[in-house]
């Protein structure tokens, strides 16, 4: 269609001449507006100032907003319960999705769908044997540091990971991963994941058979869980975890990951640490995507609310800016409306994006707390940024 419309430019001129004849007596002196043809925009490459905002349950699609202008740049076709990832080299958008041959019935088809980031057309559909159906998760579909492999979490209801060769655009293998989920890439090794015994599992996929090793248990998976939507810093090979009570763990990711002693976000703000006891109301982390890591500076931004333990899905009324190296909360930004998801650009002058149940998106300068842009109906889902590290 695009090509055709461009090809008709000559016809347009002819048509215009014809139209000018048909309207020979213009009422005013203003030049008559000229006919136009339809076309399609081409997209810029993924930009470090962009936010990719998932619509949520009722609104399929991941909208791309420019953090500097607040303007929408385009949309990636992510239906309900899909996962979205960006090729580290910026060439492709990847969507892990499950389709049925008759909308909500018929034959199930699981795939990783590949979009060119410039013309945003679908390039490939890579069939996979399955994936989990869940919303609002960032770490069920992760890409290796070199952009070669995709790891797709599956629950059927046994727990496993489907490994996709993105270069060959082929499914490669399924690795059983009982009791673990929420992955991060582990450069040169494969991937690591959190486990229900409180350990971190590492899956080495370089050998003939995948080899799974585990750290000693370090967190309480059922009593003080780590949020699935943690952050991973590819440059530093470091993961940052946050628990329901507000413990912050950092882990050096390698063949044998090393987890450091945690610190309390509340203590880092000069308050008493969070506790699991009922009736103990404190500032607590919460939301669907409750934390965002600015990797270049080592600052983490956390959505915090007042509540007891087990209010971990509650939206944040403040954003706390944590200096991870100093173990200090250096700033608390109040929010006029509670917000559910937070992300931060990986630029020298970072920008925050928060959204919530009202589907509003706010772009905030974390240095000043100023709201730079407010976007109506931006989406209520999780947010992705380009990670140049």
């Amino acid at each position: 269609m695009m090509t055709m419309l461009r090809a008709t430019a000559a016809s347009v001129i002819a048509a215009t001449a014809l139209l000018a004849g048909a309207t020979a007596a213009p009422a005013q002196s203003a030049p008559e507006l000229q006919p136009e043809t339809s076309d399609t925009m081409r997209a810029d490459p993924p930009n470090p100032n962009w936010f990719y905002v998932e619509g949520g349950w009722d609104s399929p699609g991941t909208s791309i907003f420019d953090g500097l202008t607040g303007k929408m740049k385009g949309l990636v076709d992510t239906a309900r319960l899909t996962d979205f990832a960006i090729d580290p080299a910026g060439r492709y958008y990847y969507v892990a999705e499950s389709l049925w041959s008759r909308r909500d019935r018929g034959t199930r088809q699981d795939m990783v769908t590949v979009y060119d980031t410039r013309d945003m057309k679908r390039q490939a559909e890579i069939t996979i044997p399955g994936r989990i159906l869940i919303g609002a998760r960032k770490n069920n579909f992760v890409i290796s540091d070199d952009g070669r492999w995709a790891f797709v979490y599956n629950l059927d209801p046994a727990s496993s990971v489907n490994i996709v060769d993105l270069a060959a655009r082929k499914f490669r293998s399924n690795v059983e991963l009982p009791g673990c989920a929420s992955m991060m890439p582990n450069p040169g090794i494969g991937f690591s994941a959190l486990c229900s015994d409180g350990s971190l599992a590492t899956v080495d996929v370089t050998g003939k058979k995948p080899a799974i090793t585990r750290t000693a248990p370090f967190f309480q998976a059922t009593d003080d869980p780590i949020f699935d939507n943690y952050a991973y810093d590819l440059a530093k090979k470091q993961a940052v975890f946050l628990t329901y009570t507000g413990l912050i763990y950092t882990a050096a990711i390698a063949a044998q990951p090393v987890v450091a002693q945690p610190f309390s976000i509340q203590a880092a703000a000069g308050l008493r640490p969070g506790d699991t006891k009922p009736l103990d109301v404190n500032w607590m982390p919460g939301g669907r995507q409750p934390m965002a890591l600015h990797r270049p500076s080592g600052h983490m931004f956390v959505l915090m609310h007042m509540g007891e333990m087990w209010t971990h899905k509650e939206s944040g009324t403040e954003i706390w800016d944590v200096d991870l190296a100093a173990k200090k909360v250096v700033r608390r930004l109040p929010l006029k409306e509670p917000m559910n998801n937070i992300a931060v650009t990986q630029t020298a002058a970072p920008l925050l994006f928060v959204d919530g149940e009202g589907r509003k998106g706010w772009i905030i300068d974390p240095a000043t707390g100023e709201k730079k842009h407010e976007i109506e109906n931006a989406g209520g889902g999780v947010i992705t940024v380009v990670d140049p590290s």
Partner: protein, 181 residues
């Protein structure tokens, strides 16, 4: 020739043809038994040309009296007098451009809107951009001379994504086709 063939026909061409061939002729060749109004985005042009144009305030709809020509990301932009849907200008597209990856529909519904700058009426083709989920930004529903399904080319509820590779509705453009009277 085939009617509504996305690979061969745009409205501009149809308008040219209209000057040479009777509409009835085109439609019969396409195998349609034309009885009354054709399913064809030309009717408003002929109607507008046939009627005496009256651009006084008393002859303008509420929309036309309040329309502006500066910001095409607002519902009251003059070309949007009969649009329904998300404005592509708010979705990463332009007034006649689909956002990246979306496909313009080759056929469309139309409106006749008055440009406040020159006081003239123009024929606007509201082409849907197709193949992506709804954009969600800047939803507008203006209804100047918008009619019902038996005159589909003047109805703004129909999904006009015919001849595109997907019929999923993304957003709507407002393409200037020409002066209307």
């Amino acid at each position: 020739m085939k009617l509504f063939d996305a690979d061969a026909i745009g409205e501009t061409i149809l308008r040219r043809l209209a000057g040479r061939t009777s509409r009835r002729g085109i439609l019969s060749r396409a195998g349609l038994a034309l009885v009354a109004a054709p399913v064809f985005p030309l009717l408003p042009v002929s109607r507008a040309q046939a009627s005496k144009p009256d651009r006084s305030a008393e002859a303008k709809t509420a929309f036309a009296r309040n329309a502006q020509s500066k910001d095409d990301t607002k519902c009251d932009y003059w070309r949007y007098c009969a649009i329904d849907g998300a404005l592509c200008t708010c979705c990463g597209g332009g007034i006649h451009s689909c956002p990246p990856g979306a496909e313009p529909s080759p056929v469309s519904w139309v409106g006749t809107c008055i440009n406040p700058d020159d006081g003239k009426a123009y024929l606007i083709a509201y082409r849907d951009c197709c193949g992506k989920p709804a954009c969600g930004q800047c939803g507008c529903d203006n209804t100047d001379r918008e009619t019902q399904l038996y005159t589909p080319q003047l109805n703004n509820d129909v999904i006009w994504c015919f001849g595109t590779s997907s019929m999923e509705y993304h957003c709507s453009t407002a393409v200037l086709v020409g002066a209307a009277g």
